[in-house]
Amino acid sequence: MWGEEAISAEDWQKMEEFYGFDKSLPEQYFLYLRWLARGDFGVSIIFRQPVVELYTQAFGNTLKLAVLALPLSVFVGIPLGIIGVLKRRSLAGRLAMTFAFIGYAVPNFILAITFILVFSFTLKILPSMGDATVWHFIIPTIMLSTGTTAALARYTRSTMLDVLSQDYVRTARAKGLSERIVIFKHVLRNVLIPVVTVIGLQVPTLVGGSMIVETIFSWPGIDRLIIGSVLNRDYPLLEFGVLFIGSIVVIVNIFADILYVLIDPRIQVEA
């Protein structure tokens, strides 16, 4: 084995001790917890750098994409769903729902590859990887948001159909209110309430989606670190990644819950 020549037995033992690999699995777990409690998240085996440092460097890049992609899907997805219901019988509505359907059923790595083939290799108008200029952000942002956009559009549509069949909508129409006021004041408000919670639930999808996006576009974000850690068996790096993303998801869900209470007066928080 080449390892025996490259590293002395003494060093080998030192390394094992350093990472705690010489102990039994339960012991390693409690050791890990103890390190966690001290705020020590470990050192990456491949990069030989504290994992926290690696993640803080990479997180900004992931955040940039997510911050662009989430509003994009909210501001495209929800209107798509609404158009899909209101213009049901016209071309616009059909197009909206077809778009949502394709975004939902076609995996985003295939969409991304199609985009690269068309816009980067054939038309040569957009760069295919890296993050140097504004142009570099266009395809990755669109790719990251498609899945969420489609999910939101579909969900908005079904919620809206539900709301439209409610008694209070009929009452509003019977009162002689204009269709515009019925839709904007009575329907949309009630549609948005459940949709907001779904936006919160989309964060995990966004995280999964960005693993693909970051891999395809060589984006130096946290998801690429995570994929790399799996391929390289870099345990400390993966452990922190899971902890990190788990925390983000929990925090976002808490915010979604708070927002839910704020926009829906029917929900009262018990003191």
């Binding site: 995996p107 790595f109 590859i113 690269i116 995280v207 693909i212 994929i227 850690s229 799996v230």
Partner: protein, 320 residues
């Protein structure tokens, strides 16, 4: 006497799962109306729209190709021919023979690899689907039927799954148990059940209160008997829709993982893996990525369309 009436209920229940009016009709009215309902359902099933027919045909052809792959494919999917690598598809030259979809970066026939990849991807997804629905349905029925602390524990498990992204759980599993198809199947199967559980629990909760379950209970039926003989037949249509809708999602998860290089390992052909490997040659040889991508898109779109149609036919509500 009571038993006989019970049977009638069972028989026509699945047909009137969701419509409130027909539900009452099914409970109170005699067999003739049941037959009417049955006919209209069969009519709805057989009255297949053109798009769905097309999808069914495509799926059947693909299934046939996947099952009989060794006899269908023109070349051995793993034989490499270095001299011919990255050769363009003979189809674009207008030829009907040779490597129809071209040759990949290692000199392997792309069409043959696609068919074998289809076989692997679909096979994995099917097994995952079965595992996932077994777990999901069992938990959903148990928590809906028993309620109490069982229900609460299942709810906690579901919440946990909602909070952690699928891909992350799969990654953790892979790094703990190693690479390989059995690990992958187990992981995806045991991770994708929460939708089943939530929806089926809701369905069970409403069935639990219906007169025929009460009657079965009054006659001394155990929970197990009720679950098997009364609950399961009544959630059958929902289950069919769920399975059809879930299949493309699982296939996407599998191909995404393989695309990232952490799913099916080489040299086994898998559609996602082929796209992932061909990605590096896109600028010079686009035909390496297009065929496997096409297969994935075709199969997921078709299954989705069939699923949407089944949902409308059975009138099953899947959102919340």
């Amino acid at each position: 006497m009571a038993e006989k009436e019970l049977k009638i209920d069972e028989g026509d229940k699945p047909l009137s799962l969701n419509g409130g009016a027909s539900k009452e009709a099914a409970v109170s009215v005699l067999p003739p109306s049941a037959t009417v309902a049955k006919i209209s359902l069969w009519k709805r099933i057989l009255d297949i729209p053109l798009s769905v027919r097309l999808c069914l045909i495509i799926i059947i052809i693909m299934a046939f190709a996947a099952v009989f792959a060794p006899w269908v494919v023109p070349y051995d999917p793993n034989v490499t021919n270095i001299m011919e690598r990255n050769a363009p598809p003979s189809l674009i030259k207008g030829e009907r023979i040779g490597h129809l979809f071209g040759i990949d970066q290692l000199g392997r026939d792309i069409l043959s690899r696609c068919v074998y990849g289809l076989r692997v991807s679909v096979g994995i997804s099917l097994v995952c689907m079965v595992i996932g629905s077994l777990v999901g349905v069992t938990l959903g029925v148990i928590s809906g039927l028993l309620g109490g602390w069982v229900d609460r524990i299942v709810a906690i498990l579901v919440d946990f799954q909602l909070a952690v992204p699928y891909i992350l759980m799969v990654l953790l599993g892979i790094i703990a148990f190693g690479f390989g198809i059995p690990v992958l199947v187990g992981l995806i199967g045991f991770i994708r059940w929460k939708t089943h559980t939530r929806l089926i629990r809701g369905q069970v909760l409403s069935i639990r209160e219906s007169p025929f379950v009460e009657a079965a209970r009054a006659l001394g039926g155990s929970n197990f008997q009720i679950a098997i003989r009364h609950i399961l037949p009544n959630i059958a249509s929902m289950l069919i829709v769920l399975l059809t809708m879930n299949f493309p999602r699982i296939l996407l998860l599998e191909s995404s993982l393989s695309f990232l290089g952490i799913g099916v390992q080489p040299p086994t052909a898998s559609l996602g893996r082929m796209v992932g490997e061909g990605r590096n040659y896109m600028a010079s040889a686009w035909w390496i990525v297009i065929p496997p991508s096409g297969f994935i898109v075709l199969i997921t779109l078709c299954m989705q369309i069939i699923g949407d149609w089944l949902r409308d036919v059975f009138d099953v509500r899947l959102e919340r």
